[in-house]
């Protein structure tokens, strides 16, 4: 199967006025129809920048400096702004983290959904209204007829996120980029939103790029995973491979720092109590180490890791890690 979205060796830089600092350095991702790719990493690792570059929405002073982004065979980096406007919201759309700031506070729910339909699909306003209603039903908003006239402040956080999903899905896009879509929501509502996204994906065959710092969300939603660290993709593979047999010390570190719920008999197992740590923090832009960028925080690092750029090591077909010691047994302390 061909990927619907392919990001190849993407490089993004930011112009600080004095020099151009590297933000993303050779990130490659592939999204397949009906599948979900989890993009994982801490803040400052380049997750959101990857999303914004794909959407053609990089902020001022940030620019793509190399690589390619292809959506259904079309080169997005060569596309004119007018063409990108046609594609955004239509062939690819985005769900943001904070529905309160991403929705327009002075427009009704109806207007915010019909806007995207009228813009991209040449429908009459009556038809657009019908589709809007249908979308609200699809995202399971109770009393959708009444909600069309509501403003964002009249809705709860979960309902606002549903409205945002309705907008994103209104034109049946090929690709949805969901940037931490449930971080602002309560856990029981998060479970509802994830279930909804999965159900809609099954009906429409949409490819989803799920950006998250939560490995639990990855386990729940993703088919494939890419782990980003300091602007590089340090590990990628299927979700089973990444969560079941993580190869990169950073991925293993993230696994060991995630507190697990222990239920039933496991609740009283004192062995399971420890919580791992990754010392230090993600280096700021422009201060990325020359060789392996994770080396200063890595318990396994030796001299070579600090002086030579690590190779891409394929631990199994389709599962690779950017590391000198991907098969070393000892997990990060």
């Amino acid at each position: 199967m061909d990927p619907v979205l392919e990001v190849k060796d993407l490089k993004v830089g930011v112009d600080t006025g004095k020099s151009v600092q590297s933000v993303l350095d050779g990130v490659s991702l592939r999204l397949f129809p009906g599948k979900t790719l989890g993009v994982v990493g801490e803040s400052g690792c380049g997750k959101s920048m990857t999303a914004l570059a794909t959407m053609g929405l990089l902020p001022d002073r940030f620019a793509v400096t190399g690589g390619s982004i292809t959506l259904a065979g079309e080169d997005l980096l060569a596309a004119k702004p007018s063409r990108l406007r046609q594609l955004r919201g239509n062939a690819m759309s985005m769900i943001f983290q904070e529905p309160m700031t991403a929705l327009n506070p002075v427009l009704t729910v109806e207007r915010q959904i019909t806007e995207v339909i009228e813009l991209h699909q040449k429908k009459s306003s009556a038809e657009a209204r019908e589709i809007a209603l249908e979308m609200l039903r699809a995202v399971q908003i109770p009393g959708p007829e009444d909600r069309l006239a509501a403003y964002p402040h009249e809705l709860s956080g979960g309902m606002r996120q549903r409205v945002m999903i309705a907008i994103a899905l209104a034109c049946r896009p090929k690709v949805i980029i969901a940037d931490e879509p449930t971080t602002a929501l309560d856990v029981t509502v998060q479970a509802q939103i994830f279930r909804l996204l999965r159900d809609l994906q099954m009906q429409t065959d949409t490819a989803i790029m799920l950006i998250t710092h939560d490995l639990g969300a990855v386990a729940e939603m993703a088919d494939d995973v890419a782990v980003l660290y300091a602007g590089k993709c340090v590990e990628s593979g299927t979700v089973e491979a990444i969560l079941g047999a993580p190869a990169h010390p950073y991925t293993r570190g993230l696994m060991s720092c995630t507190p697990r719920l222990r239920l039933g008999a496991a609740a009283n197992d004192p062995q399971a109590e420890g919580l791992g740590e990754i010392p230090g923090m993600v280096p700021p832009l422009g201060r990325f180490p020359k060789a392996c960028r994770f080396a200063p925080r890595c318990a396994l690092a030796d001299d070579r890791c600090h002086t030579d750029t690590p190779p891409t090591y394929e631990t199994a077909p389709g599962h690779s890690a950017l590391c000198w010691k991907p098969t070393a047994e000892k997990a990060v302390a």
Partner: protein
Amino acid sequence: MKPLLDVRDLKVHFPLASGQTVHAVDGVTFSVNEGDSFGIVGESGSGKSTTAQALMRLVDPVAGTMQLEKHDLSSLDGEPLRTIRHMMQMVFQDPYSSLNPRLRAGQAVREPLDLMGLGPVRGRENRVDEMFRQVGLHPDAKRLFPHQFSGGQRQRLCIARAMVTEPRLIVCDEPVSALDVAIQAQILNLLKRLQKDKRLTYVFISHDLAVVQHICTHVAVMYLGEFVEQAPTGQLFAAAKHPYTWSLMAAALSPDDRSRAGARFTVTGEPPSPINPPKACRFAGRCPFATDRCRTEKPALRDFGNGHRVACHYAGELTPPLPELAATA
């Protein structure tokens, strides 16, 4: 043993301009022994942060008592309240907004000592250095401003500032939810180590069950201003009995477990408004097990032994929809 903190039937209500009342905290009772950490979990709007603020007397309760050792927190005011403030300190969720951007880190940590006149003036700077080391910061960082620190380092500063007065009780309100997972683990391990070294007592507010299980000795699950279930941590996670607790457990995601995806137990809807909370069981509207009795008769908090209390008419009779719990039920 007499508990360090004893809270009885605490109520915090907020009047609205419309004449209605928000029942933010509506009668919670708990006690915490010295050296224990008491977790309160719940979703936004459940009243957990208001409970924390009431303990610190940042908001005033309308009813109930709060006893910290021999001091009656609910009746103290003005100067007498100020003189015992050093015994109780708070760590807030957002380390960006809880530090004064114009105070250097060293001043921020020293300020409580100066305000409360604790210890000899000449020893205070050494005490600040000592606190910096204990939370894993170099004393040279004293002259930096908050914006020069990362989020995790700022939370370390907030912890140093809370601990500098040698408090008996620290109320932590979502202290790690604004942090990345790797930094979150560092701060949780720090809080745990400090508690062990200094025999501190925590009240720990969080929406994250896994975090609470990791750090707390006792847990209460709060819903719409009330505790629906409370128990020693081991007992709660081995044998939870309230459907709301089950729904929180089922909604928690784990990187190890892909098998539950799609098949998990979920509840529908969102919590109702605390302005007019349901008269009987407050969870009944979302509970898949609810009967007419749940909608008409308020369930009492019943004791199932060992301090495990559950407010559900059918507690102990229902089969948990989580396989791990069903196995031990």
